[in-house]
Symmetry: C2
Subunit: 316 residues, 2 copies
Amino acid sequence: MSGKIPQFSDIQEAHKRIKPHIHKTPVLSSISINEIFNVNLKFKCENFQKVGAFKFRGATNAVRLLKKQEAEKGVTTHSSGNHAAALSLAAKQLGIPAYIVMPKNAPEIKKKAVEGYGAKITFCEPTLQAREETLSEVQKDTGATFIHPYNNFNVICGQGTSAKELLEEIPDLDVIISPIGGGGLMSGTVLSAKSINPEIKVFGAEPLNADDAFRSFKQGVLIPAGPPNTIADGLLTSLSPLTFQIIRENLDGILTTKEETIIEAMRMIWERMKIIVEPSAAVPLAVVIENRYLLKGKKVGLIVSGGNVDLDHLPF
Amino acid sequence: MSGKIPQFSDIQEAHKRIKPHIHKTPVLSSISINEIFNVNLKFKCENFQKVGAFKFRGATNAVRLLKKQEAEKGVTTHSSGNHAAALSLAAKQLGIPAYIVMPKNAPEIKKKAVEGYGAKITFCEPTLQAREETLSEVQKDTGATFIHPYNNFNVICGQGTSAKELLEEIPDLDVIISPIGGGGLMSGTVLSAKSINPEIKVFGAEPLNADDAFRSFKQGVLIPAGPPNTIADGLLTSLSPLTFQIIRENLDGILTTKEETIIEAMRMIWERMKIIVEPSAAVPLAVVIENRYLLKGKKVGLIVSGGNVDLDHLPF
């Protein structure tokens, strides 16, 4: 019903395939943040990935697996931003066209990035229905292959390479925490992490104001996102059948966080680590802040999902 | 008249002395910035140094060279911010007191940092005269040793270790550019760089609105800073006799930049490199932007001096 589940060997092959095209992102830590929360945090910095987000891993894996006659017609997707930029650059590097359906209210910086990579943008209303309808039209017109942002086997395999790199660098993590939006990063992360170390705990991090994954996980039924109202603009989407199945079967839990804590976490990373992370990427630290006694003394890997922020609209 | 000039062996000894206490900062680059300006830039990221600025190198070297009976009475300085934080942490690590004279208008983030390191702050008017008078009183009261932010042999040796690390990592740079405020970083940089590679060109980078070093260098006479009016709050001070002598005898030139270009450069580094740099630290990239034809095709090291920014008062 929800499709084939990736094996770790699929993620390993994806990693070999995309390695020449992606950045191996650095793992950073902050003595002062560790002291404040009495925890040993390792930040896997996908904000330094190409296009400024982990999404480039999955998009690169997906486009490079297309057959020649598919590839020639190009690729298309709908995305609030980072997947759009990622797919556009991945397509550009292969020399094939990309057609992007994007909600009108996407952050300016993400629109500009997509245009900069030479993709063709079609704007739509910011609803899932409008995105899907517009996408159908674009597909009909162009014959392009739809690369779903997360309900896609090859995309999930690509996203799983970030946690794989993290555990290759720091094998003795007790816990890994990744943000959950549509669940592509989360799925890849948990599949990689549990394959490499079955003892590791893997948690999702989600804003309370967009906690559809939390409720779906708890109730065992895929609950679509209500109208989300969170600063974490990368986490507005609902889980898909495929990502829900992987998450339900493998994840140890989902931790949620208030908006104020997301902003506090984001500002703390900016001020103390001197790196730029987008609100969604601060959600794992926010759940650490809200669950500091649970994680006390643990070695915790956090997937910092991206760094694409509109500097004209900061929350502080 | 201006005191003893450091030899490269002094900088080498300083490096051995401070190595266990400082971060070896990373060297980053940005494909997109290089493409825009047709230059090969290597950013030496002192924004990731302890206290968020290169100043920790010089301060650590200076406090660790004090005699026991001097050290016990503590250290004191006047500083617009980063040297104050650096001296405070260096003193704290040695277990000795630090007394800081700070202009009332110093950025909030820098005041907080100094307090956080346990130093005692005395505020004064934001003029050189007020700073020096207040410092005299503090010295009289405490017996603390004055560690000048830049007119100090040991401080200059410490600051020179950043360019030394940069050239050890990337030996084939054609040019190094460092910001000039009081000239401590510039002096250390040019002494290191010219000792390691006599062929290398070394330039200072200075805001047009605080171009006392540019005018001093050009006229061969130390001209004190007028009332400076620049966003680069780390570059408000005048050269000292010692730093002026080193700069006059060794530097290849000083390049100046408009305020708008400093803001453009800062924003470009934030958006494209996802790292936080303070305005002063963006001045080297700003002079690259304004002199791109001069530097076309060259491999250029930029000393990114610090990352302490008041997020409540950004210029964009």
